[in-house]
Amino acid sequence: MDRKQCCVKLSVQPSRGLMDEKFIVLVQNALPGSQLTIRALHQCEDGHSWEAFGHYTADTTGTINEDPSIHGTYSGVEQMGLLWSLRPIPGSKPGLRMRKKNIQTPMEVTVSVYQGHQTEGFADLVPLSGVVVERWYMAPGVRRIPVTEGGLTATLFLPSGPGPFPGLLDLWGGGGQLVEYRAALLASHGFASMAIDYLTSKFTMKTGKMVDNQYFETAYRVLQQHPQVCGSKIAMIGLSFGTSMTLKMAIYSEVIKLSAAVCISGSHVQPVEGSVEEIMGFFQKNAGKTRFNEKNEVIWRDLLLPISTDPSLKADVGRLQCPLLLVVGEDDQNWPAQESALDIKEMMARAGNSHLLTVLSYPNAGHLIEPPYTPHARSSTFKTVEIQEKVMCLWGGQTVEHFRAQEDAWKKILVFLRENLYGGRKPTSFSHL
């Protein structure tokens, strides 16, 4: 071992943070001007390993701090590059996507410093220094409560404290399952958040039948009646197919009265009178418009194009009475989110309620606009509940722009929710995000 470099000190602050918090990586005591690689390694729940790395040159004091990475999985001055540029290690199965199922334990990332500018073979190298960083979805004191009342398959996350808290219904997309991580993170920011499985619920798995509109209304009621939830301040957040459900409930439900809605990477195109099943069927009918790229990855964005002019096939956004935040990736290859957003804008302008609409549109961002620092997957293996076989689905997006979109959108989503559910001015406590 090169004795002169053996006292290199690496620190990552904070060593335990929430998934959406920034950290600072600091290298000290290196040889001035020496070439070093900083690498992150994470083994996820399914056993796959992910890595990210940057190449640096120590300055005249032997320090690396807020310096540019010359080359690696990210380049330039990128404080969080070690997380957002994580990708499966060479030799991994194709089509992987990082999603944490058990959000009660942290994501553990090992950050290490290596001599020289290394690009591969890290497993055979001895680092100069290494630390472990924990990234949590749940802040201390956040409570996780499985919900089965009224036939629901859902999980409620309550912030710590007496409350009452504004509520949030959290919906994901066509892949189904009970996806908890975003709701856990939103609870860590003060919202009583209920993640709902509405495609593969216990009811559906048992009976083979899709849930009806009442399922969502039941979820709303359960949330509203919770003693620690402020029943008059409930919002809904949906991604992909979750957008379709969110808009449906926001506009047409007699029971659900939302204070705000957030729709990510989705569309308002849907048979207005349709049940969940019928809406899915509607998409299936257009399956002929599926395209494939040169890698044989599935592009589904055309299924809803061109945007219909038939009012019975579009949620009537002109009737919306609550603020709506649309988040759109302009390189979304899975849903025509950008075209839909334009149409929504026009419809609301005509109806006179466009003061309720905010559109966040991100060039070169893809479909999966997730909480920040979630690695970007341009494509991954995917199975919708309709199509039982796995396909390689093209989501779109270029990594750097997609990461910036995730970071920016998340901050704005939190501010939007805070303003509409808590009232008050621009929050100062998000400055560390």
Partner: protein, 463 residues
């Protein structure tokens, strides 16, 4: 009388009720108030929500009505099942914000601009048993502190909090390994930082209170040192030589560890532990510490041929003559001062050959550490070793100088090892200056250790 003020429907802000008005509440206004609990409360955040015990946090309250008096309070339920609290009285600004880092506390357990006051000014809640000391024995789990915001100043405890969050204060950074040591007769706990190493090492010892305290060793490991918290008081070693060997063996366990740099091992001692540090550095022919840190230094080393344990017992027996103040607290300092005036009772600190840092409090009522530090300085100067010595002395600071943000205890219950008698020992210090000393000394101790154990000037010169 107006019960309810500062409300704005469009902003959904909170009804703010000040305490005196609450007492005068009519049944109607009380019903109104309970109906208002459906309105969204203020937003409290502690950032970071998970941190090491020596790291700072920012406590922020938002969404209050402007100019609203509130109390921010911390609460900790200890392993001994006691409740500890701290609180500060604040008034929100024009935007409805209270920032504990930026604003002044007008009263409570701390006043003024004190970002960490909610931790260092903690004390047992009213009605607690007397003489309590806060020590975390299980360092694998974090210290849990609930921070809450309450309406009003006087009598804030009488109402439920408006909001509360839980924050975790950790002794062990992620990836630290904790290993029970029971080899070659030595007992203790070893903490190893994550990463390949090699690391510098530290032998860590607390004082005469006994028991194995791991908190500081865990924290030192979180700063990059392989640290051994050594259990040394319970062992009734047969002779001084055997006991000396015990300490040397412990030191070598660290030194010989495959992940430790053998010429970068230091010793860290508090109170009686510092006596061990000083005697190892002065007398051992086997171990050569790279540097030593002595908090509340003790150099009382009479009657060659007896162990540290029996010396300590002898001392405490003699200290039964010690003064007791009007609060029935025992002051050892004055009697102990008589012991150390005899030069034959003192360790030959002039023989120390490594950098030495002495940290003591000027209001130490337990041991004459001020005089001890002066004496050590004189002896080292006479031996031409002055260049090795650094000293930190803090006014109004007591004996138990711990890592930052630990609560200050002016006097706590102490069980005499041999007689099992319970006394209340006066440690000294006033809370605010003592806490400042803990924060300042820790930073300087870490800097001292970093300099001597991580990047010694010799190493740099070779490059």
């Amino acid at each position: 009388m107006s019960v309810l003020r500062c409300f704005s429907f469009s902003r959904g802000a909170l009804w703010c009720v000040t305490r005196p008005h609450l007492q005068e509440c009519t049944p109607t206004s009380r019903r109104l108030l309970s109906a208002m609990t459906q309105v969204v409360p203020p937003i409290l955040s502690v950032t970071p929500s998970r941190a090491l015990v020596d790291e700072k946090f920012k406590v922020l309250v938002e969404n209050l009505p402007p100019g609203c008096p509130v109390t921010v309070r911390s609460l900790h339920h200890s392993e001994d099942k006691d409740d500890w609290e701290a609180y500060g009285h604040y008034v929100s600004d024009h935007s409805g914000v209270v920032s504990v880092s930026e604003d002044l506390s007008y009263g409570g357990t701390y006043t003024g601009k004190e970002p960490m006051g909610l931790l260092w000014s903690m004390r047992p809640v009213p009605g607690s048993r007397p003489g309590l000391r806060l020590r975390k024995m299980n360092v694998c789990t974090p210290m849990l502190v609930t921070v809450s915001v309450h309406s009003g100043h006087e009598g804030f405890r009488d109402q439920a909090p408006l909001a509360s969050v839980l924050t975790e204060r950790w002794y062990m950074a992620p990836g630290i390994r904790r290993i029970n040591i029971n080899e070659q007769g030595v007992q203790g706990t070893l903490f190893i930082p994550p990463g390949p190493g090699p690391f510098p090492g530290l032998l860590d010892m607390w004082g005469g209170g006994g028991g194995l305290l791991e908190s500081r060793a865990a924290l030192l490991a979180s700063h990059g040192y392989v640290s051994l918290a050594l259990d040394y008081l319970g062992f009734d070693q047969e002779s001084e030589n055997l006991e000396f060997k015990y300490f040397e063996t412990a030191f070598n366990i660290i030194k010989d560890h495959p992940q430790v740099m053998p010429d970068r091992v230091g010793i860290f001692g508090l109170s009686l532990g510092s006596l061990v540090a000083v005697t190892l550095a002065a007398y051992s022919t086997i171990v050569k510490p790279c540097c030593i840190v002595c908090i509340s230094c003790n150099h009382y080393y009479p009657a060659r041929g007896s162990t540290v344990t029996s010396k300590f017992e002898g001392v405490t027996r003699q200290l039964s003559k010690a003064r007791v103040n009007e609060d029935n607290q025992v002051i050892w300092k004055d009697v102990a001062l008589e012991f150390i005036t005899d030069p034959s009772n003192i360790a030959e600190v002039g023989r120390i050959n490594c950098p030495t840092l002495l940290v003591n409090g000027c209001d130490d009522q337990n041991w004459p550490t001020v005089e001890t530090a002066e004496d050590v300085a004189r002896l080292m100067r006479e031996a031409g070793k002055e260049h090795l010595l650094s000293r930190l002395a803090y006014p109004d600071t007591g004996h138990l100088i711990e890592p930052p943000f630990s609560p200050h205890f002016r006097a706590t219950t102490f069980v005499m090892r041999s007689s099992k008698e319970k006394v209340i020992l006066l440690w000294g210090g006033q809370t605010k200056p003592h806490s400042d000393a803990q924060e300042d000394s820790w930073r300087k101790i870490l800097s001292f250790l970093q300099f001597h154990l991580y990047c010694s000037p010799n190493l740099k010169a070779k490059i």
